[in-house]
């Protein structure tokens, strides 16, 4: 349809209006309400009190920075493990023939037919101190200890500083995998892995595997071709996988609640505790806002950096082309 641009602009608006309204009503408004709650006090019976800065003042709790940091660190670990596991999985599925592909892709989605809480509860049994996973955990701890001793001093200090290792020796013999950080990471990876596999698989399915042959043909080893051609080729899928895993990991509270015990309290648990147990909605809102900021600020920075990089790329292409054209004219 040709016609006046104003009219087509209006049509565009009309088409997108419902989704805008939806987003505004069920996302933007609630987010603003949550933000507004943080500037209220709370009442004894669990209601929202008068306008006040008391909630933000309460937030200066010495526990919180460590919990926020741990949440980010554990979410990061879970994301890394998920991506590392999802990449070969997705690659393998994408290379299968159509029949196997649907069977395997289907079985990855199969766990979703069971309740999430039931599945986490099943893990509780598997992680029992008499189970085989406990033995694996002891081996893992010993390996970590050995690795830790082997690392240079500055790296050891760094790991302690970010909270990924403890200063003193843990007593390996009495450590249990249940109620440990390892259990939280393990089960989070288990439950979020499909969210990493699916977007990567979708991207890998569209990937032209002849490109890997071309790379091999030009002298690349298989792994080099995988790294330099396949990974950049499915970058979009990896980016969505990271978001699909990281965001739920940051908000998770069921897994740390049931499997992390007191050794792994994440921000999700705190929010849950403040909102349900302490009936302090403003405080829970403030924590949620804090966490959103902690995730959105780095994300925003990354996006800004990426767009700057793209702009530089475009500039570079322009100048390089100009240089080559001058060279050609000479």
């Amino acid at each position: 349809m040709k016609g006046n641009p104003l009219r087509s602009r209006r049509a565009e608006w009309l088409v997108t209006l419902p989704s805008f309204l939806w987003l505004a009503l069920f996302f933007a408004v609630p987010a603003l309400i949550v933000l507004a709650f943080t500037f209220h006090g709370h009442t004894a019976n669990g209601g929202v009190g008068e306008w006040s800065m008391s909630t933000w003042r309460e937030l200066v709790d010495p526990d919180y920075p460590a919990i926020v940091w741990n949440t980010l660190r554990i979410s990061f670990e879970v994301t890394v493990w998920c991506i590392l596991l999802a990449l070969p999985c997705a690659y393998a599925i994408a290379r299968m023939n159509a029949r196997w592909r649907s069977i395997v892709a289907g079985s990855i989605m199969l766990p979703f037919w069971t309740s999430f809480v039931v599945r986490v509860f099943a893990w509780k049994t598997m992680l029992h101190p008499d189970g085989w996973l406990q033995s694996c955990y002891i081996v893992w701890l010993r390996f970590r200890e050995w690795l830790f001793d082997w690392l240079p001093a500055f790296l050891r200090e760094f790991l302690v500083w970010i909270g990924a290792a403890s200063q003193g020796r843990v007593d390996v013999a009495t450590s249990t995998i249940l109620d440990s950080e390892a259990a939280v990471v393990l089960v989070s990876v288990y439950s979020l892995l499909p969210f990493a596999i699916m977007p990567i698989y979708t991207a890998a399915e569209k990937f032209d595997f002849a490109l890997l042959e071309a790379a091999r043909d030009l002298g690349a080893k298989s792994f080099y071709a995988f790294r330099k051609i396949f990974i950049p080729g499915i970058r979009q899928g990896i980016v969505s996988a990271v978001l699909m895993v990281f965001i739920p990991a940051v908000g998770s509270y069921v897994i740390p609640q049931m499997l992390g015990g007191t050794n792994c309290v994440l921000i999700g648990n705190k929010i849950f505790m403040r909102a349900i147990q302490n009936r302090n909605i403003p405080h829970a809102s403030a924590l949620a806002t804090l966490m959103a900021v902690a995730v959105l600020v780095p994300l925003g920075l990354a996006m800004w950096w990426k767009s700057r990089q793209d702009m530089r790329d475009r500039k570079r292409i322009e100048t390089q082309t100009a240089r080559l054209m001058e060279g050609g004219a000479r």
Partner: protein
């Protein structure tokens, strides 16, 4: 002369299908060599075995005397121009071309110099910093060729490189490929199902059918002296006359075809009376006229009165479908002179078709 590339009794099966059946052939250094055949004939499998993507079930492949049969693709100095180009979409044209040089850890200055030089050769210097998706089909094709040639491989494989281009561009790229081959002096192995491409580019052609080499020869010989009925029919159009030798007269013989007058042909295979034979006569060798040829000419050549059944005007030539004593014969009449000063031949005209006995070629005796 030492043999450059040798296939030695190579066989490759996929399940019940024998894609390549005991193929032996030799390619000379610097040659433009074509593997020509219909789709599914095994030519691509031959190419993939050279690239290292398939392993033969039996037989060996030698390149400059070295057995390369079991080498992985990255250890062969053989590069491929893929049918769909297979340019890396996440890299610029420049980085695509530099890929093999960077892999070989060449110094930065050398990489730059060689990439810039080959970009100039393919006349795409101004496109160097674009991404493949921003290029046209012909440009992608040239980048694919440059990428495969930039580190000077021993052998360049081209897998139907022009199949994805439109006709005009294809003709242009044919010339360009020829020029590039002359410039770089690398052996080209070209796979195609298009006999026109193979004929116009190749020094030698191996015509392949059902996994076997039917004929290996220069383009002119393959056209003029096809070894088998398949080659004769696959390369260009032809008329077949199947019959048996009725009489031999010096260098010539007479072939009797059911219900058709005897045909005189040059007996280069020294066949004897009673042997069965397929005679191939190319349409452009057959003349079609309203009046018979002059008697002194007519005595020594084949002349058959016929009826015109169909006429297709093609600009450069006109194609006639003619029926003569129950046989369908096709003939081409090139328009080297202005059409209108001749008496036009029309549908259902009674005409004479005639050709010189030397213009028929006897393919395989049966």
């Amino acid at each position: 002369m030492s043999e450059f590339l040798v296939f030695d009794h190579v066989t490759k099966r996929f399940g019940a299908l024998t894609a390549v059946n005991d193929v032996s052939l030799t390619v000379n250094k610097g040659e433009f060599f074509s593997l020509l055949g219909p789709s599914g004939c095994g030519k691509t499998t031959l190419l993939r075995m050279l690239g290292g993507f398939e392993r033969p079930d039996s037989g060996r492949i030698y390149l400059e005397g070295r057995d390369i049969t079991d080498l992985p693709p990255n250890q062969r100095r053989i590069h491929t121009v893929f049918q769909n180009y297979a340019l890396f979409p996440t890299m610029t044209v420049w980085d695509n071309i530099a890929f093999s040089l960077k892999l070989a850890k060449k110094p930065k200055a050398e990489v730059e110099e060689r990439v810039d030089a080959i970009l100039e050769m393919i006349q795409l210097s101004d496109q160097a910093w674009k991404y493949p998706s921003q290029l046209s089909g012909g440009q992608k094709q040239r980048v694919a060729i440059a990428r495969a040639l930039v580190d000077r491989p021993q052998l360049l494989l081209l897998d139907e490189p022009l199949a994805a281009l439109d006709l005009k561009l294809r003709q242009h790229m044919l010339l360009e490929l020829d020029t590039i081959h002359d410039q770089v002096g690398i052996t080209f192995l070209y796979v195609t199902h298009d006999q026109g491409e193979a004929m116009s580019l190749s020094d030698r052609i191996a015509v392949i059918n059902k996994g076997k080499v039917e004929q290996l020869d220069g383009p002119a010989n393959i056209y003029e002296a096809p070894a088998t009925r398949f080659v004769a029919s696959f390369i260009g159009d032809t008329n077949f006359f199947s019959g048996e030798i009725a009489a031999v007269d010096g260098d010539y013989c007479y072939i009797s075809v059911d219900g058709f007058p005897q045909i005189k042909a040059f007996n280069d295979k020294a066949l004897k009376v009673g042997q069965k034979i397929d005679l191939s006569v190319r349409p452009e060798k057959i003349r079609v006229t309203l009046s018979p040829p002059l008697p002194e000419k007519g005595a020594s050549i084949n002349v058959f009165p016929s009826t015109v059944k169909d006429i297709v005007y093609q600009g450069v030539y006109t194609k006639y479908w003619i029926e003569s004593a129950g046989l369908k014969i096709s003939a081409l009449k090139p328009h080297s002179r202005f059409l209108l000063d001749q008496e036009p031949i029309t549908w259902n005209d009674e005409v004479f078709v005639w050709w010189h006995p030397d213009d028929g070629y006897m393919v395989e005796a049966r």
